[in-house]
Amino acid sequence: MVRTDESGRQTASASGGFRALAEDQLPRLYRLARRFVGDAAEDAVQDALLKAFRSYDQLEDAAAGPAWLTKILVNCCRDRARAEARRPEEVELDELEEFSLFRKIADEDPFPYSDSLHLDFLQQFGAEDVRAVLATLPPRYRVPLVLVYCDGYRVKEVAFVLGVPLGTMLARLHRGRKLFERRLWDYAHEYGLLKEGARP
């Protein structure tokens, strides 16, 4: 239990506890924020630190500190993404359900001389390309995808952090994966990654 004094302010030890938790988690929070809001990551982490400091006395179990901070950060990122959204999210869900990147690569055969076609396709993408593709996904799909597959969180943990039922989380993950596959293909097409020798 985090202690507060009679006036409701955090005690010195509670404040020290918050600082230790926050400092320890800064690198992870920053990486997560980069996934969600790109260059605004530092601002999002700062927002999260301020909100978390004010409500630290509500944290009952110190072991839950990292997940609690993550939840606050995700909300801050969502607020930022919402404020900066220029147009409603349009996702081609019906068409998406039919899409298979595996079949698309096999059908289009972009590298006819390759004996490891699918692997070669993925190897065309550098880290910046992957970030750029992820950045095109609407947050409701990108956030679960990133937390589960890039950062290794369990699906149940992500459902908790995002405050949604498990079934909803599974549906978003399914659509997020499909959308990611579709956008990988579109990106490769748009940036000329489908030509033999496009990347060293």
Binding site: R19, Y30, R31, R34, L101, L122, V130, C150
Partner: protein, 78 residues
């Protein structure tokens, strides 16, 4: 017996260990004879590795210093 479409739809959940015992058996039975769905599954495994192997940029030292300064400020608040 499940169709290719049903098997493919459940592949990631299968790899994530999120399907129930009956579903798992149905998928494994399908994979035992369907070469194309085995290809889909191997590619799904590659995609999972691909996502996990692309870590986000580390916290730059200057940004860390600014965030630490924020924590200093919070600690000094009356």
């Amino acid at each position: 017996m499940i169709t290719c479409a049903e098997a493919v739809r459940q592949l990631w959940d299968y790899l994530d260990g999120l399907v129930e015992e009956g579903q798992r058996e149905s998928i494994e039975e399908h994979l035992s004879f369907c070469r194309r769905c085995c290809g889909e599954m191997e590619f799904a495994e590659e995609l999972r590795r691909f996502l996990a192997e692309h870590p986000e940029a580390e916290l730059p030292e200057e940004a860390r210093a600014r965030l630490i300064a924020t924590l200093d400020l919070l600690e000094r608040q009356p």
